[in-house]
Structures are given as structure tokens and as C-alpha cells.
């Protein structure tokens, strides 16, 4: 499977198991028999890995364990002591209106961003692939948001969506449509943020789809034509869609894990408002932890966040193992 066909031979001196790189399959590969067991190997190997191991323990492993522990305490930053409260924090979540708003909004955001950004990206990729003109140009244009500073671009969107002076509403006024307060009304705010999220993610997905499309052998399209697929539509369903299967699954999971981590736009544009209507998971973690300094509670929410992310990854590896490998 080649999600990244761009990674051509020119840039890859030896055949690399790209599938592993691109799919990040957490299944630990069987050790390759590299039968070079000289006595010096182990010592030098540990020496080489030592800096990484130390940094790993300090920056990832210990903090991870600490979060696990914190989640079961009532620790508040600056407090001299704390108590173990078991699942108290998780029980609190059930009654916390801002937390439930946060979960709900995050889910809505993901369910808005993922299908739209995937569908639009697939459509655009097929359109780009259908002709020869300006391939690199389109790709660059749609990819631009991925490399742009989110905070800055969110500010630009804020202007575009401004209820009174924004060009979007100026346009709507011209055609006589309603002019919502995009980021200011609790009805529209999550849709507006979702739209910006789609804008941010389309280019990324598009590039993955383009790579998937170029990896489809031309001969299959020729064969489908001989077999009687007359329209682009039937060729799409006979060849393109099934051949994109592996890419599609990958894109879905990537987009979900990316959009569940939405933070920058919310923090910049709405601060979760109005009235918690755009409160999202990461911002709740940030707010509870670094605003109210309720570290225990924030750690518990962090665990919920972690479990969701891990769940998505689990689905991914399960499905990859089972279905989408055509060989």
C-alpha cells in the first residue's frame, strides 16, 4: 500500500517498507535475523540509545504515569497535599455541564470535519488526477493551509466571518441571504469552526488521496474500459473506490485524530464561547489545568482524551489487519 507515492525512488535510495512508515502500524514486527552478535554490540547499542531512553523516560514515560496517577487525586496546583479520590474525578465529569458540552462539541466538530474534509479532498483529488493541467499548482494551493500558522489564519477567518464588516456576510447581503453571526452565536459557532477545520484538513487529505490515486495501475482503468465501464462514474466505482480502500481508512483515522485535537482555532477565536458552545476537549483540559489549576480533574479529562485517541488507533490497526490488504 502506498499512501505516499510521492516518495519516489529518487528520494529513497533503498526500498523502504513505506507501508510501515505511513501506516504507523503499532504491531511490533518480528525481529529480522541480523546475525551479527559480536560481544561489543550490546554495550555500544545501549550507549547509542541512552540519550533517547533518558529523554523518553523524562518527557514521555514518567509524565504519562504521573497523569495516570494524578487522574485519581484531587491535586490542585500549588496545594501542599492531595488525597486519592479513586474515580471521583470521573464521577464529577458526569455532572459537569461544561465537560459534557466539551465532549458533545468535540464529537460534532469531528463528525463535521472528517466527512466533509475527506469527501471534498477525494473529489478534488479525482478532479486533479483527471487531467494534466496544473497538477502541481492545484496541489500546492490546497496544501497551503497545512503549512500556515493556524493562529494567524484563524484571525484572517475571523475577519472574513465578521458579522458586520466581513466579506462573507457582505456577499450574503448582496444575494439577499441571512447574515449569521458566525463565530458569535451559539448556533453557528461550531459549524464555523468546523468549516475552518475542513479548510485546514482538505489539503492534507488531498495529498494522501493523490498519492493513492497515482498508485492505481493504469492498466486497471484500461481493463475496466474493455470490460464495459463506459462512464467515469462506473470506472470510479469499479476501480478507483476499491483501490483507494487502504488510503481511505488511513485518511479517516488521521483526520479523526487530527480533528479531535482541535485547539488553536477555538482558543484564538472563541475561547470556548459563547456560553460553552465551542468548548472542546483539549481546551477543557487546558482550562481546568492551567486556568483553574485543578490538575487532578484535568488529568482525568486527559485520560478520557487519551482513551478516545487510542480507540481510534486500535480500530485502525484492527481494520488494516483484517480487510484492506489486497496484496
Amino acid at each position: 500500500m502506498a499512501t505516499v507515492a510521492d516518495w519516489g525512488p529518487a528520494s529513497c535510495p533503498w526500498k523502504t517498507p513505506m507501508a510501515d512508515v505511513a501506516m504507523q502500524s503499532p504491531a511490533v514486527k518480528a525481529p529480522t535475523a541480523r546475525a551479527r552478535t559480536l560481544r561489543g554490540d550490546a554495550g555500544i547499542a545501549w550507549l547509542l540509545t541512552l540519550p533517547a531512553i533518558l529523554a523518553y523516560c523524562a518527557m514521555i514515560l514518567l509524565p504519562l504515569l504521573a497523569v495516570l496517577a494524578l487522574a485519581f487525586t484531587d491535586y490542585e496546583f500549588g496545594a501542599r497535599s492531595f488525597r486519592w479520590i479513586g474515580f471521583g474525578n470521573f464521577a464529577d465529569m458526569l455532572g459537569d455541564r461544561s465537560f459534557s458540552a466539551s465532549i458533545r462539541n468535540t464529537v460534532i466538530y469531528c463528525l463535521f470535519v472528517a466527512p466533509l474534509s475527506i469527501g471534498i479532498a477525494l473529489g478534488l483529488a479525482v478532479l486533479i488526477e483527471a487531467g494534466a493541467r496544473g497538477r502541481a499548482f492545484w496541489r500546492a494551493v490546497f496544501f497551503l493551509p497545512v503549512v500556515s500558522l493556524t493562529v494567524a489564519m484563524a484571525t484572517a477567518w475571523q475577519y472574513l466571518l465578521h458579522p458586520s464588516i466581513g466579506p462573507v456576510n457582505a456577499l450574503l447581503r448582496m444575494v439577499g441571504a441571512g447574515t449569521p453571526n458566525w463565530l458569535g452565536s451559539s448556533d453557528w459557532v461550531i459549524v464555523s469552526l468546523g468549516f475552518i477545520g475542513v479548510w485546514e484538513n482538505v489539503g492534507f487529505n488531498l495529498v494522501l488521496f493523490l498519492a493513492g490515486l497515482t498508485a492505481i495501475p493504469r492498466e486497471l482503468y484500461a481493463a475496466s474500459e474493455i470490460d464495459g465501464a463506459r462512464s467515469g462514474w462506473s470506472k470510479f466505482w469499479l476501480v478507483t473506490w476499491p483501490m483507494l480502500g487502504p488510503t481511505m481508512l488511513f485518511v479517516i483515522i488521521i483526520t479523526m485524530t487530527r480533528s479531535i485535537r482541535v485547539f488553536d482555532t477555538v482558543q484564538t477565536l472563541t475561547q470556548g464561547g459563547p456560553n460553552n458552545a465551542s468548548e472542546v476537549l483539549l481546551r477543557t483540559i487546558y482550562q481546568e489545568g492551567f486556568h483553574y489549576f485543578r490538575f487532578g480533574y484535568s488529568a482525568a479529562i486527559t485520560l478520557v482524551f487519551l482513551v478516545i485517541v487510542l480507540g481510534l488507533m486500535l480500530i485502525q490497526t484492527r481494520l488494516i489487519d483484517r480487510r484492506v490488504h489486497y496484496g
Binding site: G131, A152, A156
Partner: protein, 277 residues
């Protein structure tokens, strides 16, 4: 099929152009508004060209109000500092995991895979506590240290190093190189595409990051570009769009320009490595 006449290609091009316009809209208005005087901005016209140019006023105001160059320099220091340590730590470890046989290798690699599953936001609380304990809040260290161990870099480099022929490494050993020289003089140069891709991915990710700097930095002179924009918004109460767009443009420009100069490399780097975003 390749050379379809232009006329038949028009519907396709029209659709793509429409989508491109939507994608480019914020950039277009960012540039336009950044040279418009405030009264014109408030007229809410759709025109892009200002009647009176306010380039000097808007950009002058940005430069006068916030030390934007300092933010950009901070961004560069942080990004390249992180990258430096990530490479320094990950490359030797990846080499050992890929090419050396030692007891515990599978265990180490297992931990690498575990690390891949954990978004960095998860560990923010304890890291903050630790950095606070050490009195390192508001420092470059606070911005750089948490990202020095990139499991993703280890994973990626390991995949690439595995593809390097053993004979090449054995030849280097016979030529008298030690393992350290092999890592830096033979293995890394041969994995330069992977290193470039990772470098681009890492720089883009940390240049754009807001979550972590927001947590550990309160002092203005250590703001990263993303934080600088946030600060400027609050100073300006957010309504002087001309200056705001000018500031946004200034901090967006470096990466966008780099992207336009090396599109292929950027796209390769970010999509290949983009699973850790």
C-alpha cells in the same frame, strides 16, 4: 486523455478554481486588509484594492506595538533547537534498533511504539509541574525540552536505516570507523531524504504549535509567533484588522515562502510523517 483540448477541460478547471478560491480567500483578504486603512475596513465592501494605502500605518503599528522580529527569532530558536535535539537523540537510537543486535531491543522498540500512540498534549500537566519545580518556566528550555525525544523520529529513522545494506556498515567497520562515526558519517547521510522530511515536519509542527507555549510562557520576550499574534489581538482589542492582518501575514510568511520554494519536499515530509500532527 493527457492532452484533452482546453475546451473540454474547462468544467474541471472551473470547479477546481472555485475550490481554490475558497481555500485562498483568507490569504487574499489577509493581504488586502493589511494595506487598508481602518475606515475602509469598516465599510465592509468586497473591493480588495484600497482607495488609500495604509501599508506603512498598519505594518508600522505592528512593529511599534509588538517585537515581532523577536517572536520570529524565538520561533526559529525553538524550532531548530527542538529539531537539533530530536536528531541528536533519535538517530543513534534508531541505528541501534535497526542494525545492532542486543538484548532488550524488542523492549525498547515496544516502548517506541507505545510512545507513538500518546499525543503530546497528554503529558502536559506533569511536564508543567516538573518544569515549574525546576524553576524553568519562561525559558527556552521549557519550550524545547519536552520535545527532545521524538519517538516518531526514532520510528521513522529505524525504518530507513533497516533498508541500508548491512554490507555498507560492515565495510565502514572494516575501514576502521567506530559505531559513532558510522551513525553520523555513513548512516545519516544515506538517510537524508528521511531526515529532510522529518525536519520539515518537525519545524512546521512546532512553528504552528500554540498549546504548549501558551502553558509555559507568560513573559512577552519569549513569545513564539503564534503567541505573539494572540497577544497582539488582546492588546489591540481585536478590532484593528489592518494591523492584525499585517501581523498575521508577517508570521505566516516565513513557512509559506519556504513551502512555495520547496513544495515537493514539504508535501512529502508532512504527509509521510503527518500521522503525528
Amino acid at each position: 486523455m493527457q492532452s484533452r483540448p482546453l475546451i473540454l477541460d474547462l468544467p474541471r478547471l472551473a470547479l477546481l478554481s472555485l475550490a481554490a478560491f475558497v481555500v485562498l480567500a483568507p490569504y487574499i483578504w489577509m493581504v488586502a486588509v493589511s494595506v487598508k486603512p481602518q475606515d475602509e475596513v469598516f465599510k465592509a465592501s468586497l473591493s480588495l484594492i484600497p482607495q488609500k494605502w495604509a501599508l506603512v500605518e498598519n505594518y508600522g503599528k505592528v512593529l511599534a506595538t509588538i517585537p515581532i522580529w523577536t517572536y520570529i527569532v524565538n520561533g526559529l530558536i525553538v524550532c531548530f533547537g527542538i529539531l537539533f535535539f530530536q536528531i541528536l537523540f533519535a538517530v543513534p537510537a534508531a541505528y541501534a534498533l535497526a542494525k545492532l543486535n542486543f538484548r532488550g531491543r524488542e523492549l525498547v522498540f515496544g516502548f517506541v511504539m507505545l510512545g507513538l500512540l500518546v499525543p503530546y498534549q497528554t503529558t502536559a500537566l506533569p511536564l508543567y509541574l516538573g518544569i515549574h519545580q525546576l524553576g524553568l518556566l519562561n525559558s527556552y528550555t521549557a519550550l524545547i525540552a519536552p520535545f527532545t525525544c521524538s519517538v516518531f523520529a526514532i520510528f521513522l529513522f529505524r525504518q530507513f536505516f533497516r533498508a541500508i545494506p548491512d554490507d555498507l556498515i560492515n565495510a565502514a567497520r572494516i575501514d576502521g570507523m567506530g559505531e559513532f562515526s558510522i551513525v553520523w558519517r555513513v548512516v545519516l547521510p544515506n538517510a537524508l531524504p528521511a531526515a529532510t522530511a522529518f525536519a520539515i515536519f518537525s519545524v512546521v509542527a512546532h512553528w504552528n504549535d500554540l498549546f504548549w507555549p501558551l502553558i509555559v510562557i507568560q513573559k512577552g520576550d519569549l513569545y513564539t509567533p503564534a503567541m505573539g499574534i494572540l497577544a497582539f489581538r488582546s492588546v489591540e482589542a481585536g478590532e484593528d484588522y489592518g494591523a492584525l492582518m499585517a501581523a498575521a501575514l508577517l508570521v505566516t510568511a516565513p513557512l509559506v515562502l519556504a513551502f512555495l520554494l520547496a513544495q515537493r519536499r514539504f508535501i512529502e515530509g508532512i504527509t509521510m510523517t503527518g500521522l503525528k500532527g
